[in-house]
Amino acid sequence: MKRFEPYVFLRQLATRWDILAFIVVIGLIAFLGETARGLFEPLAELEITPLSLNPAHLPEYAARTTFRMLAALFFSLVFTLTYATWAAKSERAGRLLVPILDILQSVPILGFISITSVFFLSLAPGRVLGAEFAAIFAIFTSQAWNMAFSFYQSLRTVPTELTEAAESFRLSPWMRFWQLEVPFGMPALVWNMMLSMSGGWFFVVASESISVGHSAVALPGVGSYIALAIEQKNLRAIGWAILTMLIVILIYDQLLFRPLVAWVDRFRVEQEPGERVPEAWALTMMRRSRLINAATVAFHAAVLWTSRAVKHAEGDAPPIQAVDRPKRSLDLLWVSLVIVVVVLGLWHLVAGLITETSMHEALHVCGLAVITMLRVFVLIALASLVWVPIGIWVGMRPRAAQIVQPIAQFMAAFPANLLFPIAVYGIVEWKLNPDVYLSPLMILGTQWYILFNIIAGASSIPAEMRFAAANLGVTGWLWWRKVALPAVLPFYVTGAITASGGSWNAAQVAELATWGHTEVRARGLGSYIAQAAAADNFHQIVLGVGVMSLFVVIINRVFWRPLYYYAERKYRLT
């Protein structure tokens, strides 16, 4: 059974660096928004590739969508290897970089797509390329943070003896990075890549078709296809799109992630044999293929070659200490740099918000956030009521778990926003109350995290513990209360955290939905942001995203994180 890495985040509740980080992040968003606003006018005219609802075009669209995903994944990897390394190697930089990452992880960036789009379109005006960059950037923002965070954690937890061995055999820092640190971080990184991908599909669908100003930019892809289908009220086309996506994700899973997971198994440091080795036919194929083999050999040679080259450049310098010694002057420079950025961010925030936002509006937005928060919590509770018992039941039966677990993981990867039109169609047709009936959409895609974490938890309950419970005659409600529920609690919390974060993001798509020209709206912060985005009201977007970030960060800090450590400490088996 698959092992699940615990959700990674910082241990402390909050430090002053967190507050600085929050200001920097929101300040940057505000800054970007302000800039985008100025760039707006010349972009009104855009060439748009006409889309077609003919299913014959879907393979091409799917390929383009997939390409965007891969491109974003590539950039996320580059970002991870640089940003996380910098944060881990330099104590000075890490003090701010790590909280920034933690905040970025919680910022629901989805509502922000239209602003970043304008920014990227301005870089390549009038070109499809700009829109492509915007879409790729949107996907990047859904993937990069948790990957970087996991790699940072790995870098900080490389076993001392391995570091010492590398040092005593005088590996150069470059060689140590590629031969020790990257391989060590690999398992956690791949797992986080998979999680990121699940989120990424959701974003790619949302980011391909964006309205900028009064014209819509639709990049050829599955996301735009579905947007067009919604506009034309074409249920059949939506069906085709869903089918295409199912196939695409299946292929992605089989060709990319299964081989990756199986391959990465060798990088695990715990060397106990006996645990079942993950299998993947694609990996077996690749290992046997001479071409792939030659590629890996070439990569290895490249690492060695660059090691030599880099080492030549460095000369035979004395070995570099793992942690750099803080220097007074550099410290001063760093601190003043941070202060400048924070002041700038603060200035933008305050200037933007005070001039354009009344106190009344701010309060109104906070009220909306409370509504969305209630929605998220109620939905998580409802989903838990359903999936916890089912997950435990499945997890206790290895054969059932083997069938259900991949399905649950697959469902988590499937972009739930593809299914929205069907639900919206129903709501419009039967005139249902959108405040109630739009809500489940928020958790449609994220509930699966609860299910597959519970399954993983239940299947990790030691057989002896279950026998002991049976032997003592512990059954019924007592069994659930004293055996099953405590045993899966740490896993449940991990799943619920992921589900909650995803739901906040989904709120921005789920609370405001359209079918043709009919609009259904649920009251909440998500629909506020979505409406602001549709109306290109930048200060409203910044306000909405800012308040949502603040809510998510606070909820994480005061609720999920303590709960997570409590569960870890008290209920972790073994």
Binding site: L162, S168, F169, F267, P273, P319
Partner: protein, 434 residues
């Protein structure tokens, strides 16, 4: 034996900085010479700083004061002629046996053909033929440590540092590996000229070393140096061998003369409120007292004898013996452990009587326990926060040690029913759940 030493440590001292900024002394007055053809053993318990000294020699850490030289040159960072074998093997799990061995040569930028030739030679020498393409996880512990040896030998070091290289292996595997190593060493088939071995196993030290430095703790320092002149291969049953072991036990339990540095107070903690308490469970103490009280020891046991009888390593044996001494259940001297009157009484009592005896000794002889009890008695609520005592302890020790010490006292107090502790809200109290 040549005249100038391969390695020299002069008055080496190492201190770490505690979170509150105070220095924590871990090594003091270290003097060590390693000459060609010698195996020098650093013998002591965990926390005696022997591994720290090894890391200083390896260039993985810097001394706070003193000098370390290798072939007359000061050691600054890992030196090319010094290689290390680790306790937990420290192999790279994503590299094959061959790649693990070749890594150190790749770091030296040698030509590929040379890397290949030397790696295969090292693999051959250490008996790993046929395992070149295996990954570490496919190997048994013994085979993994062989990779550790091959990896160290392949760089042709002058000095081999070994950090408890056999302690993670089972008895039989460890013995095989030791014998193989000694064979290669005495036959001169390895490129190395000298060895520094860290161990907490007395027999291993006597079996392998030419000189043994016995370490004491708090702070780590050399208690004595013992020369082993028995010819190789050595026989465990040889009376001279047994005598050597007995002598080391005596050294390690010797009462230092006078007070001052290295005095009794440091070696037998618990005499002040700020002493670090050892993690010894009440079960282990009870079992040990029963064993000493029973035949053939009848209340007084020779430490090496009871160690082999109970299959305890000194890392387990000494903490138990010293905790019993601290609680006045036993006297430890001259390599012997002797139960006191109360110790004997404890061994022969029922569960409830044992708890009463233990409680009396705990509150009388462990000042921290007495202190906690007094605080609880004085308060109207009969309860107190854990953080209160942690704060007090941190004046004397690191945060981690304070936590461990408090946990030790909680365990003993629970057994003695002297006071209760609730982990959920981190509170001490007088109430025991009824």
């Amino acid at each position: 034996m040549s005249d100038s030493p391969l390695l020299q440590c002069i008055e080496v001292r190492k201190a770490f900085t505690k979170p509150d900024g105070d220095p924590l002394l871990v090594l003091e007055g270290m003097n060590l010479d390693l000459y060609e053809g010698q195996i020098v053993g650093l013998l002591g318990r965990s926390g005696s700083g022997k591994s720290t000294l090894l890391r200083l020699i390896a260039g993985l850490a810097e001394p706070t004061a003193g000098h370390l030289t290798y072939l007359g040159q000061p050691i600054a960072g890992p030196a090319r002629g010094i290689a290390m074998v680790f306790q937990s093997f420290a192999l790279f799990p994503w590299l094959t046996v061959f790649e693990n061995v070749a890594l150190g040569l790749e770091a030296q930028r040698l030509p590929r053909s040379e890397i290949r030739k030397r790696s295969l030679a090292a693999i051959d020498l250490i008996g790993l033929d046929g395992f070149e393409s295996a990954y570490p996880r496919e190997l048994s512990g013994g085979m993994r440590q062989r990779v550790g040896f091959a990896r160290a030998l392949v760089v042709h070091p002058n000095i081999l540092l070994m950090d408890e290289p056999f302690s993670a292996l089972d008895v039989l595997t460890a013995e095989t590996l030791r014998t193989d190593f000694l064979d290669l060493w005495t036959e001169g088939r390895m490129p190395i000229k000298g060895v520094v071995l860290v161990t907490h196993n007395i027999e291993e030290a006597v079996l392998m070393c030419d000189r043994i430095l016995v370490f004491g703790s708090n702070p780590g320092r050399i208690l004595s140096e013992i020369k082993v002149t028995l010819p190789q291969p050595r026989n465990r049953l040889d009376p001279n061998f047994r005598e050597m072991i007995e002598r080391i036990y005596v050294e390690m339990t010797a009462r230092p003369k006078g007070g001052g540095a290295g005095g009794r107070q440091e070696r037998f903690p618990g005499l002040g409120i700020g002493s670090v308490l050892p993690q010894v469970s009440s079960n282990l103490m009870a079992g040990f007292m029963e064993a000493v009280a029973a035949a053939p020891f009848n209340g007084k046991a020779d430490l090496p004898e009871i160690a082999s009888d109970l299959q305890m390593e000194i890392d387990e044996l000494f903490p138990v013996a010293e905790t019993l001494q601290m609680l006045r259940f036993a006297e430890v001297e001259g390599g012997d452990v002797k139960l006191t009157e109360d110790g004997l009484a404890f061994a022969q009592s029922t569960i409830d009587e044992r708890k009463r005896i233990f409680s009396r000794h705990l509150l009388n002889y462990v000042p921290l326990a007495a202190h906690i009890r007094r605080v609880l008695d004085e308060r109207a609520s009969h309860s107190a926060r854990k953080s209160r005592f942690i704060d007090e302890l941190e004046d004397f020790m690191s945060e981690e040690e304070a936590d461990r010490t408090l946990r030790a006292v909680i365990r003993w107090a629970r057994y003695a029913e002297a006071f209760a502790y609730d982990d959920n809200n981190a509170m001490f109290s007088l109430e025991n759940p009824s």
